[in-house]
């Protein structure tokens, strides 16, 4: 059983996945941020690999990516930083990023290295289904990495089923068609999540985009197994201050602990 499957086996509700940008706020803060997330109640870590032109990301994550790149972050540096992460991090770690930097690193090498350091899965928003099925999916599977597709309120039912069947670990439900960090109308979102719930998909569902506090986390997890928070956490890190304190305060406020 994969690490991600275990998470959902042990906890069927209110699973919290938190996104952080590698190399942000400072180049060497990656492990510290991950450690704080684990300590303060995150169930999964989504580690973003910064890219100069992140199409699916809103301003907050864009700015953190540009800063991380300026700090000197890249894929090789990241793998070096997290090479011993399994000595301290026991929760699943998913890498999120865009195709171009990975292609330059070498897609197969990237998957091998990710597996080697203990990464559990990948979220690559600009790797579409067609290309996944043509070639990349095979490489991901051969390296025993989970791949997580995104679905949106506009994704047709047949396509949701297909994306679910090819995903492992969980399915990423984008709360509405939008970039990250935008506010959503959660009544509309709820209908869509109920629809997904009723489909009885193979994978658990985590909702992302627009989850920023206890209210939105509660609303998002009413019909699903959990949610993903990104921009709201990055915003807290951007304010500066001690990472451990910031993370503890923020996650406590979201989880209502």
């Amino acid at each position: 059983m994969s690490k991600l499957e275990l998470v959902f086996k042990e906890k069927s509700k209110r699973v919290l996945n938190v996104y952080c940008t590698a190399g942000y706020p400072s180049l060497d803060s990656t492990m510290k941020v991950m450690g704080s997330l684990q300590k303060n109640g995150a169930d999964i870590i989504e580690l973003g690999m910064p890219y100069s032109d992140p199409l699916a990301d809103g301003e907050v994550i864009q700015v953190s990516s540009i800063k991380a790149l300026a700090n000197g972050m890249n894929i090789a540096v990241l793998f070096d930083q997290i090479k011993d992460m399994r000595k301290s991090i026991s929760i699943p770690v998913i890498l999120m990023g865009y195709m171009n930097p990975i292609l330059q690193y070498g897609f197969e090498n990237f998957c091998k290295k990710a597996k080697e350091v203990g990464v559990d899965g990948l979220i690559l928003p600009d790797l579409p289904l067609f290309e996944f099925e043509q070639s990349y999916g095979k490489i991901i599977t051969e390296n025993n990495l989970d791949f997580i597709f995104l679905v949106t309120p506009e994704t047709p039912v047949d396509r949701i089923k297909k994306l679910d069947s090819l995903s492992n670990g969980f399915l990423y439900a984008v709360s509405s068609s939008a970039t990250t960090g935008k506010d959503k109308d959660f009544n509309v979102v709820a209908q869509y999540l109920q629809k997904l719930q009723a489909m009885q998909l193979k994978n658990p569902i985590l909702v992302g985009f627009g989850i920023k506090d206890k209210a939105t986390f509660d609303a998002a997890t009413l019909h699903t197994q959990g949610a993903i928070i990104g921009s709201a956490y990055i915003q807290q890190l951007t304010k500066g201050g001690d990472i451990e304190t910031t993370t503890s305060q923020f996650l406590n406020s979201v989880l209502g602990a």
């Binding site: 890219y51 100069s52 032109d53 199409l55 699916a56 809103g58 864009q62 540009i66 790149l69 890249n74 894929i75 090789a76 865009y98 195709m99 171009n100 930097p101 990975i102 292609l103 330059q104 690193y105 928003p125 600009d126 790797l127 579409p128 067609f130 290309e131 597709f149 995104l150 679905v151 949106t152 506009e154 994704t155 396509r159 994306l163 984008v174 068609s177 939008a178 970039t179 935008k182």
Partner: protein, 399 residues
């Protein structure tokens, strides 16, 4: 003579939008619906007789087509070959860009869209988009790099006068690449009612093919006009500047499968190809993904997209359309470059000897003519893609 295999694929990418290894649609799932609708419907809509009737009518009576093919006698004498100018600068709004926006606005109406967004570099595509939106009564939002807003002030004023909202792109290098990022993000945020009119042969499939087809009217006319003037519809060379490559795609299109026609694409070398301040993508780039398609991209070894430089906002782009990447790789196209300085010289020179003030982008195409070792028997068509009014501020600094 070129040694390449005539390949249908130059005009017809695969179902998934590939020209050789280049193209495709590397887009987030949030754009899937919009792009899929376009992909399944664009050819059908474009081939519909009612669509064609309206498109041809607007090209003729609104855009002012066909544009003339002009024999540049003094330039011909100087270069030592027969040089024709395809006068896209005489199109309504002053550049070829409107060929595409007229087509896409009719298509957007067919798809039931209410709002148009577009990116722009030099502002020519922005103006052409704002123009057709005014014509059709559609809401129009243009994304433009903050740096380009400064250096192309007249076009910004024109867009506003035409009723468009101009939103400055403040990320990255604040030029065309970043305006394109912002436009794509805006499209993600409101996909249902909005159509994104991409201005070049870039972006996810079907945009490169769709834009090339709308611009192909340029080479369609060149063939007819050349036949009338010379008795032969094939020139020996077609020369066009390339940023993303829409005027080049249009000027090359009906010659792609004519092996005797040399297709010459001219990129912006900026301060010089190896100066660190350049936009010569095929010389400096490597295969990569930018704005939804696989092509040749200027990037670091880590895969971060590099900020290019060109004096011309329209060529200041770190990528190139996938068709052009394929023309480059297969050697069907000849890729040359011209520096900022050479382009400025050409702009002044063309103005003096032919009485035509070209856009800075277009001026790059003229800079390579003396370097091409042309023979007296050569018949060269240069795509005069746009006029220079928008660049007067830059030209005035060099008078």
């Amino acid at each position: 003579m070129n040694l390449f295999n005539v390949d249908e694929n130059y005009q017809n990418p695969t179902m998934e939008g590939y020209y050789g290894d280049f193209g495709g649609a590397y887009i987030p799932e949030m754009l899937y619906g919009n792009v899929e609708t376009l992909k399944t419907q664009y050819l059908q809509i474009m081939q519909d007789p009612i669509f064609q009737a309206e498109f041809q009518y607007l090209l003729k009576d609104y855009v002012g087509r066909p544009t003339p093919l002009f024999l540049a006698e003094r330039l011909s004498k100087e270069i030592g070959a027969t040089i024709y100018l395809k006068r896209e600068d005489l199109c309504h709004t002053g550049a070829h860009k409107i060929n595409n926006t007229v087509g896409q606005i009719i298509l957007a109406q067919r798809l039931g869209k209410k709002k148009i967004i577009a990116e722009t570099g030099a502002g020519q595509h922005g103006v052409a988009t704002a123009t057709v939106c005014a014509l059709k009564g559609m809401e129009c939002v243009i994304y433009m790099g903050e740096k380009d807003i400064e250096r192309q002030a007249p076009n910004v004023a024109r867009m506003k006068m035409l009723g468009a909202t101009v939103i400055p792109a403040k990320s990255g290098s604040k030029t065309l690449k970043d305006a394109t990022n912002e436009a794509i993000r805006a499209w993600i945020n409101e996909p249902n009612e909005t159509h994104y009119i991409i201005g070049s042969v870039v972006g996810p499939h079907p945009y490169p093919d769709m834009v090339a087809r709308f611009q192909s009217v340029i080479s369609e006319e060149i063939r007819k006009q050349l036949k009338e003037k010379t008795g032969n519809e094939l020139p020996t060379h077609v020369v066009a500047c390339v940023g993303g490559g829409s005027n080049a795609a249009g000027a090359f299109y009906h010659f792609l499968n004519e092996p005797s026609v040399n297709l010459v694409a001219v990129e912006a070398a900026g301060h010089g190809v190896n100066s660190g301040l350049s936009a010569a993508t095929t010389q400096l780039g490597t295969p990569g993904i930018l704005h939804g398609s696989k092509s040749i991209v200027m990037q670091t070894s880590d895969g971060q997209v590099v900020e290019p430089h060109s004096i011309s906002a329209g060529l200041d782009y770190p990528g190139i359309g996938p068709l052009h990447a394929f023309l480059y790789e297969s050697k069907r196209g000849i890729f040359l470059s011209a520096t900022d300085e050479e382009a400025l010289e050409s702009a002044f020179h063309l103005s003096k000897i032919e009485g035509i003030i070209p856009a800075l982008e277009t001026a790059h195409a003229f800079s390579v003519l003396p370097k091409m070792n042309l023979k007296a028997s050569d018949v060269v068509v240069v795509c005069l893609s746009g006029r220079g009014d928008k660049d007067l501020a830059t030209y005035m600094e060099h008078l």
